[in-house]
Amino acid sequence: MSALYALDGLRVARGGRTVLDVDGLALEDGGVTALVGPNGAGKSTLLEVLAFLLPPDAGRLVFDGRPVSAADAPACAKRVGLVPQNPYLLDRSVAANVRLGLTLRGLARRAADARVEETLALLGLTALAGRHVRGLSGGEAQKVAIARIVALRPEVLLLDEPFSYLDSAATAELAALLADPFRLGARKIVFTTHDELLALKLAAETVNVVAGRADRGSLLNLYSGRLDRARHSFVTGGLEVHVGDHVTAGTRIALDPAHVVLSATRLDSSMRNSFPGRVTSLAEHGGEVLVGADIGVRIHALVTHDAVRAQGLQPGAATWVSFKSNALRVF
């Protein structure tokens, strides 16, 4: 699949401090992408850049195959819709809020009415159309904010922490709504979250955002530490892993659980990283089993049901955990 966004050497600074520094990142065209990271990691800043609301201080941003200059940004911004975290709804009715963006873009009254009606129906908000926003629940308010942007028919729908103020029922309802961009008339959805499991469940593509740096990689096996260039290793917690001699900088590593191999005995292979450990958890994950193990740090491996049965993997069981150096993403 081609990339809808490509970011290269992109940097954003605030008050002389770099808050976003993305070396090379491409976001697929289509589907759902999750930007995952802790609070203050730079997710919202990245989203503002993707919405063309925040011009980067340096670097190159390519959108839909074309580099975006400062002059192009306003036109690109009209193709993208951003729902901010804890969105503000105007002191008006639900329908008036949904109509707002259409009015600002100068849509004729009749066309705007039809669009509002259609959007409210799409998000299941028709019954609330005449209600004042003051009386809405958190989930309803979030849906109204999304409807306000969806009414503009953006190609890309960006959502900043859309689940952060919702209870579990509202989260499930919104998750179902965001699962398919086409349903909302968009070609892509990008959302930020600090909930790794929710990101895994909803998004086909995930991007880690940590301390202003963004990188595609595993969300489950993500570690921070320091690089020892002399030993070509990365030290995290009580563990030292070999990262290969091509790595020259980085403070975090990510490892896809699918690239982690579990075995009953130490493998005689080219894999430079092999550690003894114990199984701590097993969980069904997309037809396979996500096995958690403790090797000094907590690590996850995605294995088949057959492998679980053959190796007798169960909580407390001893196991060897192995992975190749080139399976590690250092950033």
């Binding site: 911004a77 951003l82 901010p84 503000y88 600002l104």
Partner: protein
């Protein structure tokens, strides 16, 4: 004590009887103050919104200046405008001095900084998410100003009511620019000062009661607006 009670009784009797002189004075006060509020609002509301939303050099100094001008002494405004409007002044040829229009102009000058500053504070105090919402929806500067005006409308109306309160209750401008001419430029405040100095305490008191009622109504309106805002 008898004098005080008797004065109150006479004052209520004057109000109850709908005394023509008293009604004329009240009407002059209301008309000039309302005129001043309308004129001041036309200037101060857009200026307040623009100042709050704009980024420009000298903004901080302007805000300090507006803060200082909120407490502008009415006699100073009266004095300056007297100089401008008097026969020998630069605007003397218009013959405005000692007219209701002169009082309205003076009261407008008096309350413009007040309304400007209150609107500025209201817009600056709006929910910080509103600015981002406007940006995310692609609002231009004009649209953004209208959205902020709508979202802070109760505070903006409150500021005009406070301006009305200040205009109707001031005496310096009305006295110096209106001249307290009976049946023409006599307002409640100038009449109270005059009648009391003449020993006509009852009429002064009656006017004072009406002024107090107006102040109470203004406060009631503010209370209702603040209730709606919350």
């Amino acid at each position: 004590m008898d004098f005080f009670a008797a004065s109150f009784a006479r004052a209520f009797a004057l109000i109850g009887a709908g005394d023509a002189a008293l009604l004329g004075i009240v009407a002059t006060s209301l008309i000039t103050a309302m005129g001043a509020v309308i004129a001041a609002s036309l200037v101060a509301i857009p200026a307040g919104i623009a100042t709050a939303l704009g980024e420009f050099r000298g903004k901080s100094m302007l805000k300090h200046g507006l803060n200082a001008l909120m407490a502008l002494p009415t006699v100073v405004v009266g004095l300056l405008l007297y100089g401008l409007l008097s026969r020998r002044g630069p605007l003397g040829e218009f013959g405005l001095l000692y007219s209701p229009l002169a009082m309205t102009i003076g009261q407008t000058v008096l309350i413009v900084p007040l309304i400007w500053n209150l609107v500025l504070t209201a817009v600056e105090g709006a929910d910080p998410r509103l600015a981002f919402t406007c940006r995310a929806l692609g609002a231009n500067a004009w649209q953004r100003a209208l959205i902020f005006a709508h979202e802070t409308r109760y505070a903006i109306v409150s500021s005009t009511i406070m301006g009305f309160g200040r205009a109707i209750g001031e005496v310096g401008v009305a006295m110096m620019l209106g001249g307290n001419i009976a049946g023409y430029t006599r307002t409640m405040t100038t009449a109270i000062a005059l009648e009391t100095s003449k020993g006509e305490f009852a009429l002064g008191l009656a006017l004072g009661l009406v002024l107090l009622a107006v102040a109470l109504l203004v406060n009631l309106a503010l209370g209702i607006l603040q209730g709606r805002r919350t």
